[in-house]
Structure formats: structure tokens, C-alpha cells
């Protein structure tokens, strides 16, 4: 997925002189996860550069540039470190178009590694997507495969509005199915690991059915798409797995079609449960599909506690926990 993201930025840096990439350790070194490796060498330091450790400055500079018509694609080293920039993102970038009645706009992308599963403890593991989906004016994207990552990032960079681009770091190097040994296979062995060269776009707001099924709909995104696949195999139910890809805008049509068919729905995310995006999904499904439902809607989410270090696998939603939820909705 790292190469796919890098390729997306490479393509956009090459085809649009207004695209610019910066962040902490992003320039010479190419990012602590290597997503921008080589980009400074090929596009020059004025296009790809290192910044001081000040997330508010990173996004604030990006807002200023974007307002003049550039297209910054900035990196926050970990989603856990975005909070100094929360003001710039939620109060400035998100509203610039609206409050200036279109005089100024803010076409920027804020990339950040998200989620757990790497024994990173409470400051390298959080999933803050709901803190952004709650804000009018932002789009929120989270890919689950290299193929999608590239197409979505290109779409995000080309989007006329600010996009929060969450990269599930646990699956940077390969799909992860929740194995507590921490093992994952490389992307090269996965069909969606294949990434076309050059320019292509996956439009924001289109979900993807990862597995067709008749009995229950699973709504997931990011790493949890792969964990849900393992859970479905474990539970032996005929589940339809929908990878949302973009939380905002949300592809309600795909969700509605599926749940109206299955009549059951389990929502899975790593983020803490209370106030999480799962609550929003359940509300939408309830409004759109109430008369088709055959069982209560269930959430499987991170516990409402700080992300632990040693107890990581007790915290991270496991295939077993998701499988239990699947079996439970099938009882009704």
C-alpha cells in the first residue's frame, strides 16, 4: 500500500504543478513509513519538503496555499498527532468555502496513518475518524487495499474540498486478518495488491462489496475489512462484506441495497465505541431499512478505554468477537 500511495502522489506531482507534498520527515528521508520516499529526489525540494514538528503549522500552511489555488497533500506522522492541527482542520479548512461564499476554497489532503495492531501503545494506535466525520465540510476516506489507496488518493488530491485521508498502518505492508501472532501476508499475494501504473481514480463516496452474501451485511473499513473476512470464514455465515472506503460522503445506496436483501447488519470498527462512526451507520441503516430488519443491529468496536500496549489483542476487535456478533444476529 505504501508504494501505491507513493505512486498516487508521484502521478499528481508530475501532472499538476500546483500539487505540493510536505510534513515531518517527509522530504529527504521520505516519511517514517516511507510513503514519500524518492519523491523529493524526483520532484525537487520546492514540491516535497520537511517541516518543523508543528501539526498546526503544517495544516495552517496548507490552508493558506490551498486558498490561493495550490493543492497541498500533507502528512501527519500518526493520526494520534493530528490534534494540534484540529483547529486548522475543523474550524478553518472545513469552512473556508462556505464562510467566504466561494471566494476562497480549500482543496487540500491531510494524510495520516491510523489504527492499531502494531503494539504502538496509546499514541500510535488511535482511530480518530469520527472526530472528522462529525464536522461539516470535510470528506473522510480510508482505503483497505493498495489498488483503492492509489485511486482514492488521486481522487482526494483532485477533490475541490478538504479530504482527511486515513491510512490503516497495520495493512501498509499486507492484509491483516487479526492473527494474534501479528502475522500478515504481503500484498503481492493479494489480488487487490496489484496497482496499475499511471493515473486512475476511485471516486469518493463509492463503497465496494468485498464479498457477496445473503444472510447478513457487514459494514467495515480499513484494516477491519480483512479482519471481518476472517471472521466470516470463522463463523461460517453467508455474509456480505461492504468496504465503505469513504465515510463521508457515504454510499448509502450500496448499504441500503445490501441490508434490504439480508435484513441483518453488523458494523465493525477499531475506534472506540461511544460516539464512533458505527453509531452513525446504525442510525442510517435503521432509517433506510427499518421495515426490512430481522435482527437488532450490532456494533463491534474498540472498548471505551485508552488504547493499551500489552493488552493490544484484547482491545483490537478480533475475528472471534466479530464472529460472535455474526452468530448472534443470525439467531434472531
Amino acid at each position: 500500500m505504501i508504494e501505491a500511495l507513493r505512486s498516487a502522489m508521484d502521478v499528481k506531482l508530475a501532472d499538476d504543478p500546483s500539487v505540493i507534498v510536505f510534513g515531518e520527515d517527509v522530504g529527504y528521508f521520505g516519511g517514517v513509513f516511507r510513503c514519500t520516499a524518492g519523491l523529493q529526489a524526483s520532484h525537487g525540494e520546492e514540491r516535497v519538503f520537511d517541516t518543523p514538528i508543528n501539526e498546526s503549522a503544517i495544516v495552517g500552511m496548507a490552508v493558506g496555499m490551498a486558498a490561493q489555488g495550490m493543492r497541498p497533500c500533507v502528512e501527519i506522522q500518526f493520526a494520534d498527532y493530528v490534534f494540534p492541527a484540529y483547529d486548522q482542520i475543523t474550524q478553518e479548512a472545513a469552512r473556508l468555502r462556505h464562510r467566504s461564499n466561494g471566494q476562497f476554497t480549500c482543496p487540500l489532503v491531510v494524510r495520516m496513518p491510523t489504527g492499531g495492531g502494531i503494539f504502538g501503545g496509546q499514541t500510535h494506535s488511535q482511530s480518530p475518524e469520527a472526530l472528522f466525520t462529525h464536522v461539516a465540510g470535510l470528506k473522510v476516506v480510508i482505503p483497505s487495499t493498495p489498488h483503492d489507496a492509489k485511486g482514492l488518493l488521486i481522487a482526494a488530491i483532485e477533490d475541490p474540498d478538504p479530504v482527511i485521508f486515513l491510512e490503516p498502518k497495520r495493512i501498509y505492508n499486507g492484509p491483516f486478518r487479526g492473527d494474534h501472532s501479528g502475522k500478515s501476508t504481503p500484498w503481492s499475494a493479494h489480488p487487490a495488491g496489484e496497482v496499475p501504473e499511471g493515473h486512475y481514480v476511485i471516486p469518493l463516496g463509492q463503497a465496494e462489496v468485498r464479498r457477496g452474501g445473503a444472510d447478513v451485511t457487514v459494514l467495515a473499513y480499513g484494516t477491519m475489512v480483512h479482519v471481518a473476512e476472517a471472521a466470516v470464514a470463522e463463523a461460517g455465515v453467508d455474509a456480505e462484506i461492504i468496504d465503505l472506503r469513504s465515510l463521508l460522503p457515504l454510499d448509502l445506496d450500496t448499504i441500503r441495497t445490501s441490508v434490504q436483501k439480508t435484513g441483518r447488519c453488523v458494523v465493525v470498527h477499531e475506534a472506540t465505541r461511544t460516539g464512533g462512526f458505527g453509531g452513525e451507520l446504525i442510525a442510517e441503516v435503521q432509517e433506510a431499512c427499518f421495515w426490512h430488519l430481522r435482527a437488532p443491529l450490532i456494533r463491534v468496536a474498540g472498548w471505551d478505554a485508552p488504547y493499551p500496549h500489552a493488552q493490544e489483542w484484547d482491545y483490537f476487535p478480533s475475528p472471534a468477537r466479530i464472529a460472535r456478533a455474526l452468530c448472534k444476529v443470525m439467531e434472531d
Partner: protein
């Protein structure tokens, strides 16, 4: 002429020989000891200069040396032992991480003098707000190695019960505030703690710690501003080790002459000090702690040093800086310099040094074995998963009780 952006660059990259010719090293002993009520406007020479006590021959010279003339051979040997113990712990724990016995580690190699020398000037009840690279403060506070290593192994000997990433210690009784991974946040908290000391009149002080890279954070400036307004008893330390992961220190300092000089704009006096010179560290720390305790207000100290090791076990510095840059560092190695000084004073010898290193290593290995018997990452004896829910709040609210039950406890 049109505007063009500047992009600071380090003097050398991996394919080049190390180059520190840009660093001016003034002779030891050339700067004065200012009065404790020093004002920012009189601190310029100290803020852009470099306080050094040990000269190239290992002698302690100048007015700062006079200020610590009371230090005995025992005091200095204790400092040397602190640094040797730190180095032994760092080496052993790095290897333990490589063997998969813990998930993460981070060394302070080359920076040992700073925390070791500073901590020995504090009193019981003073509070450090450290970063992840100040394990020296724990070593010199005589924090039990069992607890220190227990935290690194996240096992049942961990005072934090596995909640925090290795190296993110917390030890209230040893003057060591709980470390956050989010850079900068705690610098201003140190100011708040110091304000509470003054408001409560308890005679204690606080010390903030921050890396050169993290001085870029907004909270660094919040700390300086708040300290400048309320004049609390706080010592604000900046550890300038030249690197912030792969980012050259020039990206954080910009056009400011030094980090110390930055404080002057806030009206806070500041000094830049050779952080690899244990005697300079002790002399300046003692002065700064006395200043804060006697109510003369905040002071900022830039400790000038070099991060000799990788940023962490997740980092490979050969990708962004010359391989042997540490060896070329003009201020040398803190352990070697204190050792040379003790030998020059006739208080130490090569043979005693070798013996001390061996004793300390034995002690560290013995503790490590004991701690590892309580579980490692390879062979975990897990802490109960229900621990996740304890301490989120003072009392367990109903929704967490339900979640704990759902987990099976």
C-alpha cells in the same frame, strides 16, 4: 529579485564525510557565572555562547568550575556510575528489543550527562516533565531498575501494568511525570506545575524537558509565554541533539541563532551549555535550580549535544546522516570526558573504570534476569485484560462495566 523559499540542510548526508565545521566550540571557562536574578537582556552572551567547564586536557576551568569546587571525587564517581549504568541499561534493552523480548526501545547514547547531572541537583518533591529520551533522570534518581525494566517488558513488574509503550515511564515518587507520546504538550504542563508550587508555597520546583525538534510545537511557545507572564519556579530544558528523527535541527531553529536565544524574545534568560560535559551540566543545573527555588523566575537551558544512537528501534539513521557522524561530534563523549577528568584529578584509573563497567553490567544483567522471569514479549505472562477498564475514570461507569462483561470478565 523575487521571493524564494529557504530549505535548511544538514552539513552532510550519508554519502558525504561528517562535517561539523559550522559549529563554533569556544574554549572552556570563557563565560561568566551570572547572578541568580539574571535578566534576559543581560543573558545574550550566555544564550548564544556555550558554557563549558572541562577543557581538552580534562581539567575543570573557569568561573563555573569554581562554583562546583566543593564536589568531591565521590560525587563525580557517582556521576560517572550513573552514566555507565544508563549506558549498560540502554545496551541491554536495545538487545532485548532485537531479541523480540520487548516491542520498542529508544536509547539516549551520548546524552547521558544531561539528565544524570541535572537530576542530582533536584530535591525530593521537585518534578520533571521528561520526554521519552530522559531515562537518565530515573537512573540518577535511583529509581529501582526492576520497575524501569518491568515497564519496558510490560510485565507484572511494570508499575503501569502494560498500559504504556516501553520507555513511557511514570514515577511520581522519583520526580518523574507520566510521559505522553505527543510532543510538546508537557512543556507547558511543567509551567503549570511550577505555578502550583508557587501558589501553594511548598518550595518545590518543576523542570520541563523538550527536544530540539519539538521546540517547533505550539506548546513550547505556550510554555515560554506563560512562564514569562507568571514567573513561576521552572527550569525549561531544551535537549538539542541535532536531529529530530531524520530532520536536521536547522528545520526547527530556522533563523534563530540558538534555541536559547529564542527564550530571550520572551524575556526569559537562557544559557547554552555543552551537554557532553558532566561538570558544566552540574554547574549550570545547580545555578538554575537555585535561581528557580529562590524565586527569581524561569530560565531556559539549551543542552548542546548529539544523538549518537538511532532515534529508536524503528529507525535507521544511515538513511539520512553520515554513518560515523557521532565520532566526529566536536564535543566528544560524556563518559569519556568525565573519566578523563577523574583520571587527571588522580581520582580514577583505567583499571578502576574497567572494573566499574563490569560490576555495573553484572548488576544490570542480574536485574534483567529477575525481571524477565516475570514475562517478556516472547514469553508473556499477560496482565488481565480487564485492566484496560480500570483507571479510565475514578469509578467504573455503567457502560464500561457492560463492556468488561462483554469481554468476559
Amino acid at each position: 529579485m523575487t521571493a524564494k523559499l529557504a530549505f535548511p540542510h544538514p552539513p552532510a548526508r550519508p554519502d558525504q564525510p561528517p562535517d561539523f565545521s559550522n559549529i563554533v566550540v569556544p574554549p572552556a571557562g570563557s563565560l561568566p557565572v551570572p547572578p541568580l536574578d539574571l535578566e534576559a537582556r543581560d543573558a545574550r552572551a550566555l544564550a548564544v555562547g556555550l558554557v563549558r567547564v572541562l577543557d581538552d586536557a580534562g581539567r575543570a576551568v573557569g568561573p563555573w568550575a569554581d562554583g562546583i569546587a566543593d564536589l568531591t571525587g565521590d560525587d563525580l564517581r557517582l556521576g560517572l556510575r550513573d552514566m555507565l549504568r544508563m549506558r549498560a541499561v540502554d545496551r541491554r534493552m536495545l538487545n532485548a528489543q532485537r531479541q523480540g523480548k520487548t516491542s520498542f526501545y529508544l536509547q539516549c547514547t551520548g546524552e547521558e550527562a544531561i539528565g544524570c547531572g541535572f537530576q542530582r541537583q533536584l530535591e525530593q518533591g521537585d518534578m520533571n516533565f521528561p520526554t521519552y529520551r530522559q531515562q537518565t533522570l530515573l537512573i540518577a534518581a535511583d529509581y529501582p531498575l526492576e520497575a524501569l525494566m518491568g515497564q519496558l517488558y510490560s510485565n507484572e513488574m511494570d508499575p503501569l501494568q502494560g498500559r504504556q509503550l516501553p520507555i513511557m515511564h511514570s514515577a511520581r515518587d522519583y520526580g518523574f511525570f507520566s510521559i505522553s507520546g505527543n510532543l510538546g504538550t508537557q512543556y507547558v504542563q511543567a509551567v503549570g506545575w511550577a505555578m502550583a508550587c508557587a501558589l501553594r508555597g511548598n518550595g518545590k520546583i518543576a523542570a520541563g524537558w523538550i527536544g530540539d525538534g519539538a521546540t517547533a510545537s505550539g506548546d513550547f511557545h505556550s510554555a515560554l509565554l506563560s512562564a514569562s507572564v507568571y514567573l513561576p519556579p521552572v527550569v525549561l530544558n531544551v535537549v538539542n541533539n541535532q536531529w529530530a528523527i531524520s530532520t536536521y535541527t536547522g528545520v526547527a531553529v530556522g533563523k534563530s541563532e540558538t534555541y536559547a536565544a529564542r527564550a530571550l524574545g520572551y524575556g526569559i534568560p537562557a544559557l547554552r551549555v555543552d551537554g557532553n560535559d558532566y561538570l558544566a551540566v552540574v554547574a549550570v543545573s545547580r545555578w538554575a535550580v537555585a535561581r528557580a527555588r529562590l524565586g527569581h523566575g524561569p530560565v531556559l537551558i539549551e543542552w548542546f549535544t548529539y544523538r549518537a544512537a538511532a532515534h529508536s528501534t524503528s529507525d535507521d539513521p544511515t538513511a539520512y546522516r553520515p554513518k560515523d557522524e557521532a565520532l566526529a561530534w566536536p564535543l566528544g563523549d560524556p563518559v569519556q570526558r568525565l573519566k578523563a577528568h577523574l583520571i587527571a584529578r588522580g581520582e580514577w584509573s583505567e583499571a578502576r573504570h574497567v572494573q566499574a563497567e563490569a560490576e555495573i553490567l553484572d548488576e544490570v544483567i542480574a536485574v534483567q534476569k529477575t525481571v524477565e522471569a516475570h514475562g517478556t514479549f516472547v514469553d508473556p505472562k499477560p496482565i488481565s485484560p480487564a485492566e484496560i477498564f480500570r483507571g479510565v475514570y475514578a469509578d467504573l461507569p455503567p457502560h464500561l462495566r457492560r463492556q468488561r462483561q462483554e469481554m468476559g470478565y
